[in-house]
């Protein structure tokens, strides 16, 4: 359970970090909170030759009010997000989701950007950013671009980030506290990864469409057209059948479809109940 050999870099500025990423291309990985990367390295599931520790880069930290959106620096830790009045006021769904992330000791270190860049299909943050219609801000030495969350998660732990890019921030449309939402997941023990979860984010002034996300099944968190329809028309027998069909299509037998499908269906009913005034 020890990582393979690597060279450790601790750049003090973002340009220095980006220069390292450009120099080493696929050979370098970014170390943010380390709460997932360190285990992956310990288990030798990844063995970067160069590790670029961004923890001392201050410009990647913090939450800013950017008009209709909040811009959250990639290195903002879960504990900081949970403490931030801006998040409690303008993105209560994100607070609720993050309360489900592991444990206090993990939330003190884990970062929102690290979780997005890793793209674990069972993790709360990627799924919630998908539901919240976030935009991912990525930078390389060549410049900055914004990626819609709908185009960001490409597959199992795979994203649209290029090898020389660092995820620097996420921009999320504010969501007034009075707009209802639902976040439900089922885990066998408190703090464990979810077996499955459902997020419902009905439309509001800042986001014109209903967004529903199912996570913990398949290779990545996904929007559910069946649930998005049900958010307007109710969870009818037809909507349930459509949801069942969607889930069956993406679930892998290795994941235990027979076990997970009833969990999703139960969570869907409960989540719909949460939206009622």
């Amino acid at each position: 359970m020890k990582p393979a050999l690597f060279t450790y870099h601790r750049p003090g500025t973002l340009p220095d970090a980006l220069a390292l990423m450009a120099e080493h291309r696929g050979g370098a990985r970014v170390l943010a909170g380390g709460q997932s990367l360190m285990p992956l390295m310990a288990m030798r599931m990844t063995r970067p030759e160069q590790l670029v520790d961004i923890n001392r880069i201050d410009e990647l930290k913090g939450i800013r009010d950017t008009g209709d959106t909040l811009t959250i620096g990639a290195l903002t830790r879960y504990s900081e997000i949970l403490r931030a009045p801006l998040i409690a006021d303008s993105l209560p769904l994100l607070s609720e989701a993050i309360r489900h992330v592991a444990h206090h000791a993990i939330r003190n270190r884990g970062t929102i950007g690290g979780s997005l860049a890793l793209a674990d299909p069972s993790a709360e943050t990627p799924a919630t950013c998908l539901a919240l219609c976030a935009r991912i801000v990525a930078r390389s030495s060549a410049g900055e671009r914004e990626i819609s969350v709908d185009a960001f998660f490409e597959g199992l732990m795979s994203t649209a980030l290029a090898e020389d890019e660092i995820l620097v921030a996420v921009r999320i449309p504010k969501r007034p506290a009075k707009v209802p939402h639902a976040f439900l997941e089922f885990a066998r023990r408190k703090g464990d990864y979810a077996q499955a979860g459902i997020i419902l984010a009905p439309s509001h002034g800042g986001v014109a469409e209903n967004r529903a996300v199912v996570f913990g099944i398949g290779s990545t968190a996904r929007r559910s057209a069946a649930l998005e329809g049900a958010m307007t028309n109710g969870l009818s027998a037809e909507a349930k059948a459509a949801l069942q069909q969607e889930v069956t299509a993406i679930i892998d037998d290795d994941e235990g479809a027979a076990y997970k499908l009833p969990i999703v269906m139960t969570l869907a009913e409960r989540a719909m109940g949460r939206l009622k005034p």
Partner: protein, 166 residues
């Protein structure tokens, strides 16, 4: 690069551990748990799963609890680390230690240092926790024995004792 190199890359770190400044040369891949145990002889920090699940290696890192197996020693340059030894010597966890002893709140005891560090952190932020809040906090340190009832009792007893004191 010409083929694999087996030279261990190293860095020099200087940090504060339990109030004392230490300077060491460490392999870049050495995690903080191994550094504390093997380089500094602080074996109160236990290594259970070594991938962030069991919580036996929990320490206070720059004032907040963290899994020391998920932090590289190389990262800790300039930081402050407090281990169960430091919290014990300062007397900060004395009430918890006494309550664990009185309630026999352990079976094999392997998880106990992590439980104490986690419980101390809980009582710092929530001086009068409910049993549910205690269970929520120590769920970060579940191991195998399932003997958690006594641990919840002990943490509740310690919180009551500390409340009387203050």
């Amino acid at each position: 690069m010409s083929g694999p190199s087996f030279d261990e890359p190293e860095v020099t770190i200087e940090l504060t551990v339990n109030g004392a400044t230490v300077t060491r040369r460490v392999s870049t891949r050495r995690h903080l748990s191994d550094f504390l145990r093997d380089d500094l002889g602080l074996t109160g920090t236990h290594i259970g799963c070594e991938h962030g699940v069991c919580g036996a290696c929990t320490v206070r890192y720059d004032g907040e609890i963290a899994r020391s197996c998920l932090i590289l020693a190389a990262q800790t340059d300039g930081s402050t680390v407090e281990t169960v030894e430091g919290l014990s010597d300062s007397g900060e966890i004395e009430a918890l230690q006494q309550a664990f002893l009185a309630r026999n709140a352990l079976q094999c005891g392997f998880c106990t240092p992590g439980m104490l560090v986690t419980a101390a952190d809980l009582l710092r932020s929530v001086p009068k926790p409910s049993r549910d809040e205690v269970r929520d906090a120590i769920s970060a340190n579940y191991c195998r024995c399932t003997g958690y009832h006594a641990i919840v009792d002990a943490i509740m007893a310690a919180s009551e004792k500390l409340a009387v004191k203050s």
